[in-house]
Every structure is written in structure tokens, then in C-alpha cells.
């Protein structure tokens, strides 16, 4: 990894730790709650930055994947299989250590899927759905692609809202903690606030590293070539459809991952996580951050989601995102934190030989 990439990562890691220590010292440890939530929301945003900014494919339905992740894992970890315990597949699952027994609030027997298999199931289902949706839809362009993704997001919303097994309008509650590793739980308990904070931000850090590697790899260059000029990319032998599809699926999986973890952290999920406004907010944040700018999207995403989750925007939460989106798109479509702006500044102060702008 080049020095220019390692440095921001080191700074980022240091910042994560510093913020936690600072909040602890200032007795503002409760801020960690919203910071953790913001971190989980950052995962779909990073994925979307990859898709929209680097691969140039718009998606106004990504909250749908977030919801799929959250709902599948939420459902599996709360659906009581006790009635079905004689079925062969339930017994097989039990033998494979996929299930956990327990008691619910009424002291009756419960048998649910454990969090790890549920998480994996959620991600697998997301991959399948993203592949099935992406394959036909990514052949579209411009408005049609936008509308198709909007339609996908709306379908997910309507399905979770209209299905009683998924809690309909109430959503799923009492989702148990996610036992990541012995002694490390993802849950909302205030005693576990600090460890949960590090889990969330650790996940974000890993994602940033992986995406960074991807962008600078061969596939990443292929993706950026497609964004620049698709016909030229095809002419140089890049399988554009395949690359686009891979990026779509990857960004979907990231969104679903965020959904899974947040659902366990919150102890539940509701249809509002699949709403179109959520998808639009993600698009807004990617746009503000600078479209093809992982750090920009991350910073703006955390800042805006943190404030939103604390209620700083009051009843005009949606309005804030809408107005920001509008202003940025009108005045500075390259975003506030332009990638090349930062690079230009860095080049001005660095002593390395000038590199051509990518």
C-alpha cells in the first residue's frame, strides 16, 4: 500500500480511538450510540460510492438491500421454530449447531436460528437478489436505470410493509444480540457501548481498506474506465456488464451487512429502513461527499447521520437532506469534498514527482 493511502488510514484509526477516549473523558459516552449507528449507516454509503462514484451506476433503491440484510437476520433470529421442531430440516439445522434454544418474555420455549448463520444467510440472499435484479437492470441507462432501482427499493418497502410474518408496519422487535466472538456481542446494552463502537468502526475501517484496494486494482481500473466511456471500455476488451454486475452485488452486500449489524445493535428493524427517503439520503451523501470520494462520503455520511439520529434537524430531517442535495447538485456537482481538490493540495506539499491525474 502506498504511503499516500496508508496515511489517511492511520489518521482515521487514530481519530476513531481519540473520539472514544474524548467522549469517555468528557462524560459524553452516550454520543457513542449515535456514532455507532452512523458507522453502520456508513457501510451502504461506502458501497454506493463505489457503485455511483466509481462505476457510474446510479441506484436510488439501495436502502432495499440494507433492509433485506436487516430483515432476514432479524426474522431468522426471532422466528420461533419450536412448533416445527419435528421437521427434518429443523433437526438437521439443530445438529449443525445453527439453532439456539431459549425462552421468551412469556417463559415459553423458543427455538431460533443463531446470529452467525442468520447473518450469512442474509448476505447470501442479498447476493442472489442483487444478481437477479442487477443482471437485467444494469443494461439500462440514465433515467431508466434510476427508475428501475427506485422501483426495486419500493418493492422491498411494500413487501416488508405488507407481510405480517415480517411484522408489517411494526417491524421486527426483540432481536437478540449477535455473539460475534466469545465475549464480543453486538447489542444495544449501554454497558457494551464502547466495545460496540469499536466493532462498528472496525467494520468501517476494514471496508475502507478493502474498497481502496479494489479501486486501485485491475478491476477497479476497469470500473473507472466504464464510468468514463463505456463504449471505449468495451472496445478495449473489458467485460462491462460483468464488471458492473460485480460492483452492484458488492455494494449490495455492504448495504446488507450494515443492515444486519444495525438490526442486532438496535434490537429490531422497521419498514422505515427500506423507505425511498433512506435511499435518497444515501445518494445525497454520496453526492455531497464528491461522488468518487470514499473519505468524503464517509465524513459527510457520519456527520449528517449523527446529527439526524440526535434529532438536530427536528421535523425537517428530510428537508435538510433534500435541500443539501439540491444545492450541491446545482452549484457543485463534483461535491463539496472534491477528490481532486484534496489531491491537488497534497501534490502541492509533497516532494514526490508529479503524477498524472487519474
Amino acid at each position: 500500500m502506498s504511503r499516500s493511502r496508508a496515511l489517511p488510514l492511520a489518521v482515521f484509526t487514530a481519530l476513531i480511538v481519540l473520539v472514544q477516549l474524548a467522549t469517555g473523558l468528557a462524560d459524553k459516552g452516550q454520543y457513542l450510540t449515535q456514532l455507532t449507528m452512523a458507522a453502520y449507516y456508513a457501510l451502504p454509503i461506502l458501497g454506493l460510492t463505489l457503485l455511483m462514484g466509481y462505476a457510474g451506476q446510479i441506484s436510488i433503491g439501495h436502502a432495499g438491500f440494507f433492509a433485506i440484510g436487516g430483515y432476514v437476520s432479524g426474522f431468522l433470529t426471532t422466528f420461533n421454530l419450536t412448533e416445527l421442531s419435528s421437521r427434518w430440516w429443523v433437526r438437521a439445522a439443530a445438529r449443525l449447531h445453527l439453532l439456539a434454544a431459549g425462552q421468551d418474555a412469556f417463559a415459553s420455549q423458543t427455538l431460533v436460528v443463531r446470529a452467525w448463520p442468520a447473518c450469512i444467510a442474509a448476505l447470501l440472499i442479498t447476493i442472489v437478489v442483487a444478481y437477479l435484479i442487477g443482471k437485467p437492470v444494469l443494461r439500462l441507462k440514465g433515467h431508466f436505470l434510476a427508475m428501475a432501482t427506485l422501483g426495486f427499493g419500493t418493492i422491498v418497502y411494500r413487501l416488508v410493509l405488507g407481510t405480517s410474518a415480517l411484522g408489517a408496519a411494526d417491524g421486527i422487535s426483540d432481536v437478540p444480540a449477535f455473539h460475534l466472538l466469545p465475549g464480543l456481542d453486538v447489542s444495544g446494552k449501554s454497558a457494551l457501548r464502547i466495545s460496540n463502537y469499536y466493532v462498528a468502526w472496525g467494520l468501517v475501517l476494514v471496508t475502507v481498506i478493502l474498497l481502496g484496494n479494489l479501486i486501485h486494482s485491475r478491476i477497479g481500473r476497469a470500473m473507472r474506465a466504464i464510468h468514463g466511456a463505456e463504449e471505449a471500455a468495451t472496445a478495449s476488451g473489458i467485460d462491462t456488464q460483468d464488471t458492473k454486475l460485480k460492483m452492484f452485488v458488492l455494494s449490495a452486500v455492504l448495504a446488507a451487512l450494515g443492515g444486519v449489524f444495525l438490526t442486532h445493535y438496535n434490537g429490531g428493524i422497521g419498514p422505515s429502513e427500506a423507505s425511498i427517503m433512506k435511499s435518497v439520503r444515501m445518494v445525497a451523501i454520496v453526492a455531497i461527499g464528491g461522488m468518487a470520494n470514499l473519505w468524503g462520503a464517509l465524513i459527510m455520511g457520519v456527520a449528517l447521520n449523527f446529527l439526524s439520529m440526535r434529532g438536530s434537524f427536528g421535523s425537517y430531517d428530510d428537508a435538510v437532506f433534500g435541500v443539501i442535495l439540491l444545492l450541491i447538485m446545482l452549484l457543485s456537482p463534483q461535491g463539496l469534498l472534491r477528490a481532486d481538490l484534496a489531491r491537488r493540495l497534497v501534490r502541492m506539499v509533497s516532494r514526490r514527482p508529479k503524477e498524472p491525474v487519474t
Binding site: 449507528m37 410493509l161 422487535s173 422497521g270 422505515s272 421535523s315
Partner: protein, 391 residues
């Protein structure tokens, strides 16, 4: 050792004694869905609560404690409710939280309130909120099961055996649907058409047609959205002239206005707030209801609804708890459990350690619509439930 002059010591003592005479401010949090899909609940609730707190503070607060209201708009999103609940409890260290407006949100923060040992007085109706009972969790709306039972007993008395049920895909609609299905089975009434529609539905003619096709002798609509006015219009328009029952979500005159003549004869259970004027002066609820109605309508220039009433009751409970238990949370909580005969908009509340809702079936009155107004349903009145068909 330094010896402070006597007069400084005296001054210091007086200084300490001074502020102790005034009571500390009690912070009260509220999580309501002022905007978003449940805005018709949270909007009136937020306005009511603001009005009540302002009024109390003008008189020095509740039992002498000034009240600081921290109102948060959750937009009906559970994740916001969770985040706000944690913030209010852990950061702002509120004495109690009033709301949320919807069952979905309440169920998600029930555990947080219990863990944070903070009173949660919810304005949402789901029975799961108080069953199993959480030490700190209370709710003010009447139980859906009571409403469903009241409706179905009336249907049974009227002699109908095959009915239709339509409900919206919201928490309220879903809860009602389950209750109606359960009680109907118990009473031997068959639901021959059972449809769920989207809450934003703007035309329900197709659903009404389906009901007609199934040959229902009466039907129940369970929703709290404007759709409940639309289903009335559509049903009457296609000539479905059977008795129509609504849930207690019909408790806002704007739905009657929206449905026009289609609302005539609709029967539904509700708190007595809507017919406050026609109550006899001796009725225990009359004074409270009339005052709320007058104040709200004067201040906000819109009609009262039973939804705003839910937070009114929550506030009454909070006030009672503080009056009896002071600013100590544990004492206040215990005191609340012992409250009997608290007159609210939804009915007269009697709490206990096992009953954190405090209302029974008699909290409901069966109302109907006559000439565009809510009136108490007179039993034995003419069975003309459908308006005359206009040719």
C-alpha cells in the same frame, strides 16, 4: 486553622437554604411522530402536549416542579425512536418519556426504558406494550381487544353472521385485524372477506367490490388513516348498503367531513371525548373532556381527536405520579401503580402492579354519525344504518 468570621458562615448557610426552597426542574422527554406516516397521530399529540406543559409552567409547574419538555419528532421510524430514547435516558437523564405514538416504535424502546429505569408512558395501543408488564412501561389508549369485542358483540346482537373485514397495513390496522379475527371466531361470526390495503390508498372501490361480491351482511374497517373515509365513500357508491363499523381510529371529525353523507350511520367505539357536549353534567369525565376540547379547539383552530387525547392522558398520569411521588423516579413509579379513579379522555383509569393500562371495556362508548356529527348510539333506535340511495 482559619476561622471564618461568623457572618460569612451565616451568609453561606442562607445562600444554601435559598435555592432549596424552589423545586428543581423536571425534564420530561417526548417521542412523537409529528411527521411521516403516523403524522395524524403525532401531530395532535405534540400540539396537545405543548399546550399542557405551557399551561402548567405558567402556574409554576406540576406540584411546584417546573417542567422542561424535550420533544423529539421520530417521523414514525423505530430506529429514530431508539436513538432518541437512548439519548433522552442516558444523556438528558429525563424523568419520564411520553409516547411514542405508534406500537412499532414503543415495542422497540420498551427494553431501553426498562434498562434505563425510566418511566415510559406510551400513546400506542398494542397490548404487547403492557403484556408482559414492564415495571416502568405504561400505556394510555384503550385495548384493541376491547374495541373489537364491543363491535362484534353489537354485530352479533344485530344478527349478522357473515361479515367483511378490511384493514390498513399499519401497526394499528394489523393489531385490530388480529383482535377481530380472534373475537369473531369466539362469537361464531364468519369473516367471509378479509382484505388489507395500503395506508396511502386513494381509491378502494376494488376492495369494496370484493366485499360486495362476497355477500357480507356488515363490514368492519380498521385503520386510522384518511383511507377510512374513502372506504366509506366507495362502499356506498357501489351500492354496498350494509351496516359499516369503524374502529376507534375513526375518532376525528375530519374523517366524517371527508366522507360526507357516506359517514351517516357508521357505528364505532370511542372514548367519550367526541361526544363531550352530550354527556350529562354528572358524568365523571365531563369536566375534563370539555376543558380539553375547549382549550385545544381555541388554541389550534381544529377539532379535537381521540389521538391527542392519548397524550393528554399520559400527561395526567405523569402529573399524578409527580404529585404523589415527587421527583424521585422509583417513588413516582410506585405511586402511579397505586392510582385509582384517574379521569382521563379515554376513560377512568385504575392502575395496579399488573395492569399498566388501567382501562376496561366500559371506557368505550358506542358512537354513530348523525347529520355529520358524532352522537352516542341509542340502542333500539331504528335499524336504518344506510343512507337513502340517491338516484
Amino acid at each position: 486553622m482559619n476561622r471564618l468570621p461568623k457572618w460569612i458562615v451565616l451568609l453561606g448557610a442562607l445562600g444554601l437554604a435559598g435555592p432549596a426552597a424552589a423545586k428543581e426542574t423536571i425534564k420530561v422527554g417526548a417521542i412523537l411522530s409529528v411527521t411521516g406516516p403516523a403524522a395524524n397521530l403525532g401531530g395532535p399529540e405534540a400540539r396537545t402536549l405543548q399546550m399542557l406543559v405551557d399551561e402548567a409552567n405558567k402556574k409554576g409547574g406540576i406540584a411546584g416542579y417546573p417542567i422542561e419538555l424535550l420533544l423529539k419528532d421520530s417521523g414514525g421510524s423505530p430506529e429514530k425512536a431508539i436513538s432518541f430514547a437512548k439519548k433522552l435516558i442516558e444523556e438528558d437523564k429525563v424523568f419520564a418519556i411520553l409516547g411514542p405514538s405508534t406500537s412499532g416504535e414503543t415495542l422497540k424502546i420498551k427494553g431501553i426504558a426498562e434498562e434505563g429505569k425510566t418511566l415510559l408512558i406510551s400513546c400506542a395501543a398494542a397490548e404487547a406494550i403492557v403484556k408482559p408488564v414492564g415495571k416502568y412501561v405504561f400505556k394510555t389508549p384503550q385495548n384493541d381487544s376491547h374495541a373489537a369485542r364491543k363491535i362484534l358483540e353489537h354485530i352479533k346482537k344485530a344478527g349478522a353472521t357473515k361479515i367483511g373485514l378490511v384493514s390498513s397495513n399499519t401497526g394499528f390496522g394489523k393489531a385490530g385485524k388480529e383482535q377481530v379475527e380472534k373475537v369473531a371466531k369466539e362469537l361464531g361470526i364468519e369473516i367471509v372477506a378479509n382484505e388489507v390495503y395500503e395506508k396511502e390508498a386513494t381509491d378502494l372501490t376494488a376492495v369494496a367490490t370484493k366485499l360486495k361480491a362476497a355477500g357480507v351482511q356488515a363490514f368492519i374497517n380498521w385503520s386510522i388513516e384518511p383511507a377510512q373515509a374513502i372506504v366509506l365513500k366507495n362502499a356506498r357508491q357501489i351500492g354496498l348498503d350494509v351496516p359499516i363499523y369503524q374502529s376507534h381510529g375513526f375518532g376525528n371529525i375530519q374523517y366524517v367531513k371527508a366522507a360526507g353523507p357516506a359517514a351517516e350511520g357508521v357505528i364505532f367505539p370511542a372514548g367519550r371525548l367526541l361526544v363531550a357536549e352530550s354527556l350529562p353534567a354528572s358524568h365523571p369525565q365531563k369536566a375534563v373532556l370539555m376543558k380539553y376540547k375547549k382549550d385545544y379547539e381555541a388554541k389550534f383552530k381544529e377539532d379535537v381527536s381521540t389521538f391527542g387525547g392519548h397524550v393528554f392522558d399520559a400527561y395526567l398520569m405523569l402529573a399524578k405520579a409527580i404529585e404523589k411521588g415527587g421527583a424521585d423516579r422509583e417513588k413516582a413509579r410506585e405511586a402511579l401503580e397505586g392510582v385509582q379513579g384517574l379521569v382521563g379522555t379515554a376513560g377512568v383509569f385504575n392502575f395496579s402492579a399488573q395492569d399498566h393500562n388501567g382501562l376496561q371495556m366500559d371506557a368505550f362508548e358506542m358512537l354513530t354519525v348523525k347529520q355529520g356529527q358524532f352522537v352516542v348510539l341509542q340502542e333500539g333506535a331504528a335499524k336504518k344504518d344506510a343512507p337513502a340511495k340517491k338516484k
